[in-house]
Structure formats: C-alpha cells, structure tokens
Symmetry: C2
Subunit: 498 residues, 2 copies
C-alpha cells in the first residue's frame, strides 16, 4: 500500500466511520453472535499473498461489525462508558503516524513534554492540590497509563518498595538488607473497601502482597468509613501484619459510592507509627473523577493533599478514546525508585542531565504511545466549559431517569443514586423473600438484555441483585433516556405477567 | 465537532500524514529541541472555550513536529525500529472508532475472537510448536500485550504464583498456606543473562522477587550458555534461594545475541527437582522474533516446546504500529490462575459458560484496545510473503553495510554482526588503551548524532563502547545505507583529524 493508495483507503475509512457514527442508533447495541462465530468466517491460516484494501474493508461490515458491541450508542448503559470523540480519533490518527516507542525523552521530546503539560492543565482543572503538579512543592506530577488497573498495580509496587526501603533503611549490609526486605514483604497488606474495583486485589496479587477488604455496610451507603478502616488496621497489626497501602474509592463500580475521605485521612493520621510505616493512600476515581472538572464537585478533593496518588480514566467519561488513565503522584521519586532500571543503550546526555522526564520509569511498560496528543485535542476542542457541559448533561439526564423510576414505585425501587449519573435499582416484589426478589430482578434484567434495544449491566449490592443504568455516552439525549425507561417498564411488566 | 466537521478535519489530517511520510527524509531525523521547549510555547492553563480544528492543526507543525524524532525516517538507525505501516494506521483508525473497554468477551466478541485467530495464524507462521496454539494440546494460546516489558512482568507473576502454588499444595489450612507462600516468595529468584533487556529485572522488581544476571562472555558471543546457567542455579540453591523463572533471549538489545536455547533446555532438564520446582522459561524475542516469519530462521524455535512462553513485538520489525507485543503461553491457565479476579458487575452468561476467553485475565490491565485489527490488516495487506520480503530486505541491507564497514578496517572494527540486521562496531585506534579507544568511539558517536543526518544509538559490550547500526525501518533502501556509511566515514575522519 503506497501513500496514494493509503490516502484513498483512509478517506474511504473515514467515510465509513462517519456513517457508523451517524447511524449507530440503528444497530443492535450489544452483539448477539455465538461464541466462536468468527473462526467459522476466517481462514485457518494467514494468507500467503497480499490482498487489496477493498477486500479487507468489505470484511469489516460482514465479519467484524456483527461482533462489535456499540459502546458509543445512546442505548449503551452498561458498566461505565468508554467514550470516544472525533478530536480524540484525530489524536489517535496522528499518534499512529508519528509512531515510535517513546521510552525516553529523546525518543520524541514532544511526547514527554506535552504529557507533562496537559496533566498539569488537568490537575488544575480538577482542583487537585498543588502537590500533584509537576511544578508543585513535593516533586509530584502526572503520567498517562493505559488503565486504572495498571495505575493501581504501579502505585502498589511503588508503595511497597517505599515502605520496605524506609523500614530497612537502618541495615547497612546489602545482602542482609535484601533478606530483611524479603521477610518484611511477606507481611505487607494492601487494603481497599469491599466495594472497590478488583484492580486493587489484582494489583496486590501482581505485587506479591496480601489483600484485605475493609467491609462496607448499607447503613453507610456502602462506603468505607474511618472507623471500619481503624478496626481492620488494628486487627491486622495485632496479627503481625503490616498495612502499607490503601485504595480510597471515589465512585465505586457497583453504586458510585464515595469512601469517607476525611475519615480515612484522620484515622491514618491517628494510627501513623512514629518512624517509618506510613500507609500510602491512592484515590481511585476511575469513572467519577471526571466530574471534578466541574467546580461543584471539587470539594471532594479536600483531603487529597494528605494522600499520595490519584487516578481517573479520561477514556471513561471525558471523551478521550480508550486507553487513557491519567495518574498523579505527590512525589514522583517514589515511582522512579521502584521502577527505574538502567540499560547501556539508553544512555543519552538528556537523561544524564536530569533535566528531562523519562516516563518509562513511572510505569510498568517500557515503550509508550503518544497519548497526550488526543488529550490535548479534546481539551482544546471542547474547552473546559465544553467538558463541564458534557458532565452536567449526564448528571441531569440521570436525574430525569431517577424521577421516572420513582413514578413507578409499584415496579421499581432505587437502591442507590442517581450518583454521578448512575442509578441502581431493583424490581419490587411484595411479600417476597430476598431470594425471590433477586430471582425476579435477574429475570427482568436478562429479558432486557435479550430484547436488545438497550444494554445495561447488573450487580449485587449487599446481597441484592440490582440493575445499573448509566447513560453517560456522548450522543445520548433526553428522548433516549425516556425511551430506556419505556423499554425497561415494558419488559418488566411483560416478564412479571408471564 | 460534528461528523461533517470531523470528516473535513480527518481528510485534512490524512493529507498531512501522507505529506509527512512522502517527505520524511527531508526532516532532521532526531529532534534537537532543548528540554522544556514546549512549555514555553503553550499556555499555562487549559483553554476555557473550545477552539477550531484549524487552529489546533496549525500548532502541530509549529509546536509538536520540532519535538518529534522521526522513527520512520530511513535515517533512523537507533535502538530497534518501531515500524509503522499504512494498513496498521487504518487499523488504529477503526479501533478508535469502535472504542470500548473490551475487558471481556461480550464487550465486543470480535475483539477477543480476532485476537485469538490472528495469534494462531502468527504462531503457525513463526513455526512455533503446537503447544502455543489456542487449539493445541496443552491449552496454550496467544494474547496481545502492549510491550515486551509488560509481557515479561506478567510471565514472572504467573510463574511465581505457579511455583508457589505447587510448592505449597500440600498445606491444607488456608492461613498457614498463605504464610508459607509469603516466606517461600522471599526466596524466589528470576534469572536472565547479563545481556538481556532490563525488562526482566524490572519485572522481578514489580513481582517482588530477586533478580540475578547470568554472566555472558565475549568468548561465547555474549550469549548465555547452559554451563553458566548451571553454575548460577547451583550457587543460588546452595544459598537456600529458589530460581523459578528464566528469560532466554533471542536477539539481545546490545548485539542481537541468541542464548544457547538447547543448552538451557538441557541444563534445566538435568537440574529439575523431583516434585515441584520447575523453572519457567520465557523466550524474549522482542525484536529478532520477527525473523521467524522466514523459514530460514525457524530452526531457532527447536527447543521452544520445552519452554513456557514466548513474545515478540510486532511493533518493532513487523509493520504493526506501536503498541503490539504478541505473547504466547503453553498453558493459559497459569495466567488466569495468577491474574483472575471476579467482580459482580462483570457477571455474564458467556463468561460463566466457559466457552469464551476473557483476555483481561491474561494481562495486567483490565480494559483492552482492539489491537488485533491492525495486525489483521497488516497480515492481509502484505501476506506472509510480503512480510518475509520485508525482513529479508533488511537482512540484506545490513550485510551490505557490514561489507562496507569491512572495506575501511583502518577506521572501523566490527564487534558483532550483522545479526538480524544489527551491526555493532567501534572506531579503531592503534596502540591505544581500552579507555582511549572508548573515548574516541564515543567522540565520533556524539559527533554523528550532533551532525544530525542520521541517528544511531550506542552501547557498551564487554567494556567496549560501541556504535549500533540497525536500518530496519520500512522505507530504507540500499542507497540510504550507502549514505549512512558515507556520513559515518566523513564524521569519523573529521573527528579523528580534529
């Protein structure tokens, strides 16, 4: 494919993509292919000879699209959104054109520098304390990771090594110190609430440390409280274990609950040992963190200056195509101490000078994509005002949905929300056991998914099977949300009657 | 930006990208901006109001491009290549259009299924043993990670947990078992040759295990031998430590050396304990693995059926834009056992049925991009024959370069290669100490980088400072390689004369 053929193919692809977006509502939102559908459609071996773009493009509609779930459809209400936008797509195009491994500054200075700049822009726009700025008082700064899971695993590794380094700093013999670290490591415990994303548990598995969940209770709105945290920490310490890391969640996966940040900060202050042993607090705001772009949510960052790191995924609710998880730390040295390794062929005067950032030492992967480009395009195209309008639209639409649900209290009961545009509800069944209620809600849920006009996800909250409605996709409008409600009512009534 | 504006912006961008590729040779290959250049050009805060695409695009040429190092330029000879291609860019465009988090099968069945299919295609095309096929005898299969570093870290985590699980399988009490695992973990050692990429050391840091380098020697061509491996393993075991993982390298970063695979397999067979304690062998072929597409290199996979996993980065030498590290395991259960965590909102009948693959459990990140699309486009556009021609072209060009270097034995001495298109050489300085020789080579190297017509990287091999020439970029031709040599001779002569 030469550049002339590429131009033709690319323009044809752009036309297809525009058509896809213009007509996305007409497609069944969730794919209904059977497992293994694609193997039947494709050859067993790679082709020996090259094929024309026309032949390849044809297969997209006939073979790939039936297996696509349309996350940008206004009828996609499942999990959390993974929003796209046109300027972000342009960013991906240019990023692909300028492709390189970008593992250090000289690989392409713009890749590093634009990332630092847009992350400082965002830290300010989110109202994060100045300790998270690259120019701030504590050598902080931001970096783009792929996903929140990656961010959390990285923070656990950094926190683990910081803790162990500090705890063994008094041992001078290197071998002895290595042994002490290994033994001490076996006692470490990472904490997160029972409602936090499994990313923390997985991160602990990756880092080779224990994980304990801090229980949450319906009475507290399923958020972690300072008192429960205190209980768990003291219990662990009694057993000789050492809690060293905590994920505080701003917007849990199930219900968009917010942990008691102030309570957490205060308990950790109270339980802080003299000498080493500080608990690293990471705030996981993967989805709900996007709301901080609006001043009315920025009071939520009040305690963050007492914490160590923060992440939110722009690819969820802030119009930057997947993947783009933005992460800030109060002290970047804790990342580079844990993750830096040197290699002779990477030597260059810029890194040696200490004037540049080599982001590979802030993350697990070695090479990096030029992801800040799409962030830059999105921020400039929408402006902070446009991004605020985007968030507020969904907050308002979810309120509308919540009101609609309440009009049918004979059919539905809201369990939580709307919180950050997420409403969690169940089907009402009078005089029934929890099991019977759960069975009915599950039946209705499955019937809605089967129906195919809208796609929701389910969850279990405090033992209650529940349906989640999150309309935070870019193209959704009020008439869509009213239609979602109609579909839910229609299917629920039909299911109950059957 | 509506879809009409997007179409205009995208077509304008495609035109810019085509022009960029058509004229890439005219640009200075390595950026020569000063650290911090971009902060001076951009505002301190994000814009409040949205801006037009025309304004944004303008800044690309004036602000971003000066900070880009042009990895696709035929004058880019540094590190290893990060090759792009037009079909891969189309893949990125569609992947961005179909954006979603794709953490399980139902998120978009095509994302999972196409990945399994193209990885089976490639496993066959590379001549990997059938244990690495998804349909093979050992429940193997392939997955796309971002980078080799990620792949290696993941394998270390999987190997660690497999080892510990097997070593503590006899303990029935859960708490007792957790304690035993923690103690045992503190003794684990991951191995790699002294010439392997730092990814293994970093992976060990992430997994919280020790790392030891197996020494390599000039006499063995800087490759790890079975006898050195035996010595290190026995020494570690004597100290009560437990080697559990080994990276065997096919194409080291410095010199493209190949570890003695047969020797490694044989020593590990010989030292295998009765009962649990098997060493997991991962083959890191990040760059050179691409050559396996050519039958003349496939004898290199001979011992792989005795190993556990293998990775090669299609984004290096196989025309798939960054990022795309393909990884195969002989038993996928070892990945899912280490990385799987369950979450109520992810429950779905497809995952429960066990018929589908949820790739999130094969990797560190939770969500996933649709990366198999660009792989599919590249394989179909070039065909296996086209990909072979691509590799063979570079092998031949490097041979030409090697011959040219030999014509000036008064100036240059080849240290290794050409191996997989990489030639490593130094400047000759008669009757000089190693230090003086190194100083001269370094001086010449710096002068070449400063000159700016070509961009190479340097390394240190067995104490010798050396220059690496790797012309494996897509658009390079013989006349470029002759020109590289001319530039090197010219600058070397000038530096020596000065």
């Amino acid at each position: 494919m030469d550049s002339k053929q590429f131009r033709e193919a690319a323009v044809a692809s752009i036309d297809e993509i525009v058509k896809y977006y213009d007509t996305i509502e007409e497609r069944r939102v969730v794919s209904n292919v059977e497992p293994g559908y694609l193997r039947k459609l494709l050859p067993q071996e790679a082709p020996q000879k090259g094929e024309s773009w026309a032949d390849i493009q044809k297969d997209l509609e006939s073979k790939i699209l039936p297996g696509i779930t349309h996350w940008q459809s206004p009828n996609f209400l499942a999990w959390f959104p993974s929003s796209s936008s046109f300027p972000a797509m342009l960013g991906e195009m240019y990023s692909a054109a300028f492709t390189g491994a970008a593992f250090n500054w000289i690989c392409s200075p713009a890749v590093t520098e634009l990332e630092t700049i847009v992350l400082d822009w965002l830290a300010k726009a989110f109202g994060l304390p100045s300790c998270y700025l690259s120019t701030g008082p504590t050598n902080g700064g931001g970096v783009i990771h792929g996903t929140a899971s990656e961010a959390i695993a990285t923070m656990i590794v950094a926190a683990r090594d910081k803790y162990l380094r500090e705890a063994t700093a008094h041992i001078t013999d290197e071998e002895e110190r290595e042994d002490a670290i290994a033994i001490r490591r076996s006692k470490l415990v990472a904490l997160g609430s029972a409602a936090t994303h499994t990313a923390t548990k997985k991160g602990a598995q990756i880092a080779g440390v224990r994980f304990r969940a801090v229980p949450v209770h319906a009475a507290d709105g399923y958020r972690m409280t300072g008192s429960e945290l205190r209980r768990v920490i003291l219990e662990l310490r009694t057993k000789g274990l050492e809690p060293f890391f905590l994920t505080a969640t701003l917007g849990t996966t199930d219900t968009c609950g917010i942990d008691d940040m102030e309570g957490i900060a205060s308990v950790l202050g109270e339980l802080a040992p003299e000498g080493p042993g500080e608990v690293w607090v990471h705030v996981d705001a993967a989805y709900a963190g996007a709301s901080l772009i609006c001043p009315e949510y920025q009071h939520l960052t009040k305690s963050f200056d007492r914490f160590h790191s923060f992440n939110t995924n722009l690819h969820k609710w802030l119009l930057v195509n997947f993947d783009c998880s933005t992460v800030w730390v109060r002290n970047r040295r804790h990342l580079t101490d844990a993750l830096s390794v040197s290699l002779a062929i990477l030597q260059n005067q810029h890194t040696d000078s200490g004037l540049v950032t080599d982001y590979r030492d802030w993350q697990i992967p070695f090479g990096r994509r030029f992801r800040s480009l799409k962030v830059w395009f999105v921020i400039r195209t929408y402006g902070i005002e446009g991004l605020r309008a985007h968030i507020r639209k969904h907050i308002k639409l979810a309120e509308t949905f919540g009101e609609l649900v309440k009009t049918r209290s004979d059919l539905f009961e809201i369990i939580t929300g709307p919180r950050f545009a997420l409403t969690v509800f169940k089907i009402v069944k009078k005089d029934a056991t929890l099991e019977e209620q759960n069975e009915l809600t599950k039946k209705v849920y499955n019937a809605i998914v089967e129906d195919g006009r809208i796609f929701l996800s389910s969850t279990v909250v405090g033992g209650v099977f529940a349906i989640r409605h999150n309309p935070a996709t870019p193209m959704v409008e009020e008439h869509h949300v009213r239609k979602h409600f109609e579909v839910i009512v229609e299917v629920a009534e039909k299911t109950i009657a059957s």
